[in-house]
Amino acid sequence: MSKYLLDKFLYTVDRDPDLVERYRDDPAGTVAWWEDEMANSLLGCHSGERSTWLGLTDEERDVLVRQDHVALFELGAHPFLTLTLFIAMFERDHEPLEYQIAYGARLEHFDLPYPDIAT
């Protein structure tokens, strides 16, 4: 399991307006493209250099394709990254704050301590 790579997906998609729309509209295609093209991209480096070893597990890939924020929380993805991206994708379909409140309500079964987010 790679919490780091889940976080990297959320981080890189959230910070690119085109990718936010692409992931909203085509989750499976975007996740497949991202894993091929972006998963091993060294973000803090000049272009052209890549890592060689990063890949999602089947479970992680499935959770990202299903856009399941509850499962992402369970897996220890960073909750700030998940929340920010999901608000960007889905808040527009709801009344003000309705989406954020429902998002929290779907997590109500989690007690402390929450899943560990350390990467």
Binding site: D7, D14, P17, H69, F80, I87, L97, Q100, G104
Partner: protein, 287 residues
């Protein structure tokens, strides 16, 4: 030597800009009270007549990322662009540019390293709402040079809470030993109890009003000892999953000093989180 003209600690609420500038049906019912409190708070900085601002905050996974994560970082650039696309998108925050004070940045970096803080640095730093929110609330003209200091309250493993207090004390010493006739305000923002992306988010109040009450007391009274006796990296999970941002308040308590009561204390109970504002005048209360 430079003068510490004011020490200011605050929450950084990214919705303030939109709430305070909205009109008509868009304007939330709590906006007027919030604006009144902020204008009073702003006056506490204006009255101190600062020339330069040391700004303590924390990057929200904008420029600082998990492939290369510093614990404490000082900006040393002549300019800082401000705010990011996703802050524009979610909070409506404006983009702007602030001037830097490179001489003070160099002084803090050198002084910090010589005091055993292995500070990272950046020559090209785009700052986010942890620093721009207090610019918007306290100095909306954005007309003073800054030195940004970023802390990691976000990506574990984190430094211990006491380390934040120690860095705050060191920043105070370093500013006071800067060979300059400038008046420096040291401003830092953090959180009280806060939940982001978890089951307790966006409630009627902050996730833990009792923690918030104790936290405001600790800060207002400069009760570093009491705060450090209660607060650990583990305990900060309990009031809310983003409450480690409270450690930036602890840093500012270190700047203000043990047992030093704040000259201005205010708070505002909002949905989702409690706002809190503190100002100390090291030269003595300004009237």
């Amino acid at each position: 030597m430079a003068t510490v003209a004011a020490v200011i600690a605050s929450t950084h609420h990214p919705f303030y800009y939109r709430a305070s500038t909205s009109t008509g049906a868009e304007r939330p019912p709590f906006a007027d009270e919030w604006v009144a409190k902020i204008e009073t708070f702003r006056e506490t900085l204006t009255r101190a007549e600062p020339d330069v601002l040391v700004m303590v905050g924390s990057d929200h996974f904008h420029q600082l990322w998990l492939d290369n994560m510093p614990q404490f970082l000082v900006g040393k650039a002549p300019y800082y662009d401000a705010n990011w696309y996703n802050e524009e998108r979610e909070f409506g925050l404006p983009r702007f540019r602030l001037e830097g004070d490179e001489q003070l940045s160099q002084h803090i970096l050198r002084g910090g390293l010589d005091r055993d803080f292995d500070l990272a640095f950046s020559n090209e730093l785009r700052i986010d709402h942890s620093i721009t929110c207090p610019i918007i609330t306290l100095r909306p003209d954005a007309d003073l040079p800054i030195v940004p200091v970023y802390t990691n309250i976000f990506a574990p493993p984190l430094p211990q809470p006491t380390r934040f207090v120690q860095l705050g004390r060191a920043i105070r010493e370093m500013v006071e030993s800067w060979e300059s006739d400038k008046r420096v305000a040291i401003i830092g923002t953090g959180h009280l109890s806060l939940e982001l992306g978890g089951p307790r988010q966006f409630g009627e109040h902050g996730p833990d009003p009792e923690f918030d009450r104790r936290a405001v007391d600790w800060i207002a009274n400069g009760d570093i000892e009491g705060c450090c006796a209660d607060v650990t990296l583990d305990s900060l999970h309990l009031p809310g999953n983003a409450t480690h941002g409270f450690m930036d308040f602890m840093l500012m308590m270190g700047v203000a000093g043990e047992g030093v009561k704040a000259d201005h204390v205010d708070s505002l109970d909002l949905f989702h989180t409690m706002e809190a504002y503190f100002t100390w005048y090291p030269e003595g209360a300004l009237s």
